[in-house]
């Protein structure tokens, strides 16, 4: 699905406008999302303002629930979070892997760099300034595209899920064309969340300690725990690697500029030499920057996404484990009640409820985890293949530039 969006970044003193860019098919994390005609969701446009991003969520549907077949609304990041949290808090969805929430759009670093550039404008030549500004704009645009993609992936996942797509909040999110008045959590609520998380992780440890009768789940538990940690590590390391790569590309940029100046100043035969090499480095630097960007997209983002997904899968296992513990406790309570012959009916009902809950979760969890594996393998395959192809393409491009320049330089001597 092609889409276009336009970015306008307004700063106090300067307006940096970037033209509309059309973005190819995304949903990079998940390959097999059914492009189901009954419900198609995408982000058709996005606008970045001072401290918030406004996403235009576009829906095409043949479902009877919606008033129209095609419509759009504008949503902000907080509303996505509200939707995600509503899924998590819904007991009915305890047995599903809730699609992880998109990360907050973070332009702080980019904004800071842009500001520094503006301040240092006087100390550099016009060409240098323009060049750096272009790069920063490109970086900003890349971050922007990524955040749009993350938000879109979230919506696509929900739309593709057989149960979640029917959620009422989801429909409201898609259709209600007024502001959802979802304010971000205030301090008190965030504190509450913090405590909830602490309790949950402590509880999680307890629950995880309980050995599961079911082999499948026992295996999944061990696997997910280790896998999650390793993905976290790999994600952090790949980020660091890519940052070094970007730094090296920046250095080559500066070298190219200085060589250019040397070339224009030199009185010997070297002037042509320097100019040619400067030109070469300008081009190879662009390729190096692209390599870093592609690695970021295909590898780093992949790992980050599966870090979040594996956490969501762990959360599912936790909920199931919790339900199992509740079930076992209910069993014990029932036995006690029967022994004492007191409140037996109540104990029986509780036990029934717990049993049903546990079995429901187990059933859907099993399917969810199998789907998770399928999705994961497919996503890794797609991205690793694309990564290798891009690396090859760039290396070949680089090689060709270098060889042709060498040919010219050697021929000159």
């Amino acid at each position: 699905m092609k889409q276009t969006f336009c970015v306008i970044f307004k700063k106090e003193s300067s307006i940096i406008a970037v033209d509309s860019i059309s973005c190819g098919p995304h949903c990079l994390m998940n390959v097999d999302l059914q492009t189901d005609a009954t419900l198609q969701v995408d982000i058709s446009d996005a606008l970045s303002e001072r401290d918030k991003v406004k996403f235009t969520v576009h829906t095409k549907s043949t479902l009877p629930n919606f008033k129209q077949n095609e419509f759009s609304v504008v949503r902000q990041h907080e509303e996505f979070i509200w939707l995600h949290d509503s899924f998590v808090e819904n007991e009915e969805y305890a047995g599903y892997i809730i699609p992880p929430a998109p990360p907050r759009p973070d332009f702080d670093a980019s904004r800071e760099k842009l500001q520094k550039l503006g301040e240092g404008e006087g100390s550099m030549t016009k060409e240098e300034f323009t060049k750096m500004k272009q790069e920063l704009e490109a970086e900003y645009l890349a971050i922007f595209k990524k955040t749009v993609a993350m938000h879109e992936v979230f919506l696509c996942r929900v739309a593709a899920h057989p149960v979640l797509r029917k959620d009422l909040n989801f429909h409201v999110f898609l259709e209600y064309n007024q502001d959802l008045s979802v304010r971000g959590k205030n301090k008190k609520e965030r504190l509450e969340d913090f405590f909830k998380n602490v309790v949950k992780s402590a509880d999680g440890v307890l629950v995880a300690g309980v050995k599961d009768v079911d082999d499948f789940f026992e295996h999944e538990k061990t696997f997910l725990l280790e896998y999650h940690n390793r993905v976290k590590e790999a994600s952090a390391k790949s980020d660091r690697k890519i940052r070094s790569h970007k730094n090296a590309a920046d250095d080559i940029n500066r070298i190219a500029s200085t060589l250019y100046t040397l070339g224009t100043q030199d009185s010997t035969d070297l002037c042509k030499f320097f100019l040619k090499v400067s030109e070469l480095f300008e081009k190879t630097r662009k390729i190096e920057a692209r390599v870093a960007a592609d690695e970021d997209l295909k590898l780093a983002d992949l790992l980050k996404y599966y870090l979040r997904e594996s956490q969501a899968a762990k959360d599912l296992l936790y909920r199931r484990g919790r339900a199992l513990v509740d079930y076992e406790n209910a069993n014990k309570a029932l036995d006690k009640a029967r022994a004492k012959n007191k409140d037996v009916l109540q104990a029986e009902t509780t036990q029934q409820v717990c049993c049903q809950k546990f079995e429901k979760i187990s059933e859907s969890a099993k399917q969810e985890l199998i789907d998770f594996k399928t999705r994961r393998v497919a996503a890794f395959r797609k991205n690793l293949v694309e990564l290798a192809e891009l690396e090859l393409k760039h290396a070949k491009g680089n090689l060709q530039l270098l060889q042709s320049c060498l040919g010219v330089l050697k021929g000159d001597t």
């Binding site: 295996h219 696997f223 280790e226 896998y227 390793r230 993905v231 590590e233 790999a234 952090a236 390391k237 790949s238 660091r240 690697k241 940052r243 070094s244 790569h245 730094n247 090296a248 250095d251 080559i252 500066r254 070298i255 200085t258 060589l259 100046t261 040397l262 100043q265 030199d266 009185s267 010997t268 035969d269 070297l270 030499f273 090499v277 070469l280 190879t284 594996k373 994961r376 393998v377 890794f380 395959r381 690793l384 293949v385 990564l387 290798a388 192809e389 690396e391 090859l392 290396a395 070949k396 680089n398 090689l399 270098l402 060889q403 320049c405 060498l406 330089l409 050697k410 001597t413």
Partner: protein, 505 residues
């Protein structure tokens, strides 16, 4: 080698060979003759005074005339305080005293061209190798083996191996600078001292950084020697030959930073800086003005480039380290992945990344040793070039000062004419006359010196620029070739990986 030489020419012939040889070959033949027959050297003693290893004193163009006065034959150790005298006679270890040809300092430009062409068949290889630590603790030092392989006849053997320490190199530079710089010769500077680096080595840390430091220094010393012998005048300098050939070298104490000579050097440097600011030279020669400006600009840009390249070296090293650590984490991830095909692909990815990290490391070494060190060397060389221009300014100032003095003396003489002391008049007039003659001589000398240094500088700069063009061309092409190699390897690795990734089912 000397055995294969033709028998030396007749002693009579030896004397007439020297003034204006047509090309370099004759120069070496006559040097060989001097080598084989010390008698011949003695015979030509009228031309060459054995008490100095500079040219003969009576040569009017010899700028050394003043310098040779202070040499004392008796003490083989040079007096540490004097840093501007030439070195003493060669120690007894070397049986032969090589006196440079007189005309080395008085060449016409044509001969230089000839020499330069022959330099392409320049046959001398110098390598600095096998660093060894001698001693312990803070008195420890590194000793390097210097091997010279050559077929040039000024050397006594085809291949010589000597052991030298860092201060020996500094000592050599110090001697050469004091001999040649004030004549306008660009003397290649020696590598810089590094207190931090050396302390680590002394303390005995066998870690990677001190190993790299020693390697960096070894390479720098080698380049320094190669540049020095590339200079036609320096190659034949007895100090250089002694450095390369003699197994014992008097310890260059004066190179220590805190020695008397060291402090004197610092004082001189400060004085020079002040002088530079106060001398306002009327540049009549546009060539010099233009060249000075060009070297200023070159200096600025090379420093900037050097800084960027150093940053690149640093970041590439970082990239290599981070890639290695990512490779490990990818391997771990592959291990915990329970889908077999994906697990294998991830392990393969880890292997590819590991190979790539090695590639990055190799590339960063190339970045460093090829480009960064070259730039560092040239930044220092340009300082030497600027120094030579400063010397010319000093020569001009000296000439001008002499003219001023002469003027004063002439005015004093004129005044005397009007004084009314007949008895003292004759004596005073004679004195003044003498002084005027003396200063007239100094003015003439000053002018000649100034012209000579200007001529020398033009020639030196021409040679320097030629070398610069050659150096940069060669290095940049080598560097690009290293980049090509890296990309080719990358292609190989990713091409091997692609089918693995596609095989994930």
């Amino acid at each position: 080698m000397s055995e294969e030489r033709e028998p030396p020419p007749l002693p009579g012939a030896a004397q007439t060979v020297f003034p204006e040889p047509q090309d370099a070959e004759d120069l070496f033949v006559s040097a060989a003759s001097a080598m084989e027959s010390p008698e011949a050297a003695c015979l030509s003693a009228e031309d060459i005074s054995p008490s100095s290893n500079g040219p003969r004193d009576d040569d009017p163009d010899d700028l050394f005339a003043e310098a040779t006065e202070e040499v004392s034959l008796d003490s083989p150790e040079r007096q540490p305080i004097l840093s501007d005298g030439p070195s003493p006679a060669i120690t007894p270890v070397t049986p032969v005293m090589i006196s440079p040809r007189v005309d080395v300092f008085d060449r016409s430009p044509d001969q230089d061209e000839d020499e330069e062409e022959n330099r392409d068949t320049f046959d001398i290889q110098i390598s600095v190798s096998d660093p060894e630590k001698v001693g312990d603790g803070m008195n420890a030092y590194m000793v390097y083996k210097v091997t010279t392989k050559t077929s040039l006849s000024i050397f006594s053997r085809d291949e010589v191996c000597v052991k030298r320490r860092f201060s020996d190199f500094l000592g050599l530079y110090s001697k050469l600078a004091s001999k040649y710089m004030h004549m306008g010769y660009i003397v290649p500077p020696a590598p810089e001292k590094s207190i931090v680096g050396m302390t680590k080595v002394k303390v005995g840390k066998e870690d990677l950084s001190s190993v790299e430091f020693v390697e960096k220094r070894r390479s720098a010393l080698e380049r320094y020697l190669l540049r020095t012998v590339k200079h036609p005048a320096l190659l034949k300098d007895p100090d250089v030959l002694q450095f390369l050939e003699s197994s014992e070298l008097p310890r260059a104490v004066s190179t220590q930073a805190l020695s008397g000579a060291g402090i004197l050097r610092m004082v001189n440097k400060a004085a020079d800086a002040v002088n530079k600011m106060t001398i306002k030279m009327n540049e009549s020669d546009a060539w010099f003005e233009e060249k000075q400006q060009q070297f200023e600009n070159l200096d600025v840009q090379l420093r900037k480039l050097h800084a960027s390249v150093e940053s690149l070296v640093c970041h590439r090293k970082e990239l290599s380290v981070n890639t290695a650590s990512f490779a490990k984490s990818a391997a771990m991830l592959g291990n915990s992945e329970d889908h077999t095909a994906l697990s294998r692909a991830l392990s393969q990815l880890a292997e590819v990344e590991e190979k790539i990290d090695q590639l990055h490391q190799d590339q960063s070494y190339a970045d460093f040793y090829l480009i960064s060190e070259l730039l560092g060397d040239y930044v220092r060389l340009i300082t030497a070039v600027k120094g030579v221009f400063d010397q010319r300014m000093k020569a001009w100032a000296k000439w001008q000062d002499a003219q001023v003095m002469l003027q004063r003396k002439r005015e004093a003489e004129a005044k005397l004419q009007y004084a009314n002391k007949p008895d003292k008049l004759q004596q005073a007039t004679d004195e003044i006359r003498e002084e005027i003659e003396e200063w007239e001589g100094k003015v003439q000398q000053g002018e000649r010196d100034f012209e000579q240094i200007s001529k020398n500088i033009r020639r030196e700069v021409g040679r320097f620029e030629k070398d610069r063009v050659k150096d940069f061309r060669v290095v940049i092409i080598k560097y690009l070739e290293s980049l090509v190699h890296t990309q080719q390897q990358l292609i190989k690795y990713w091409e091997a990986f692609l089918p693995e990734a596609k095989a994930i089912a």
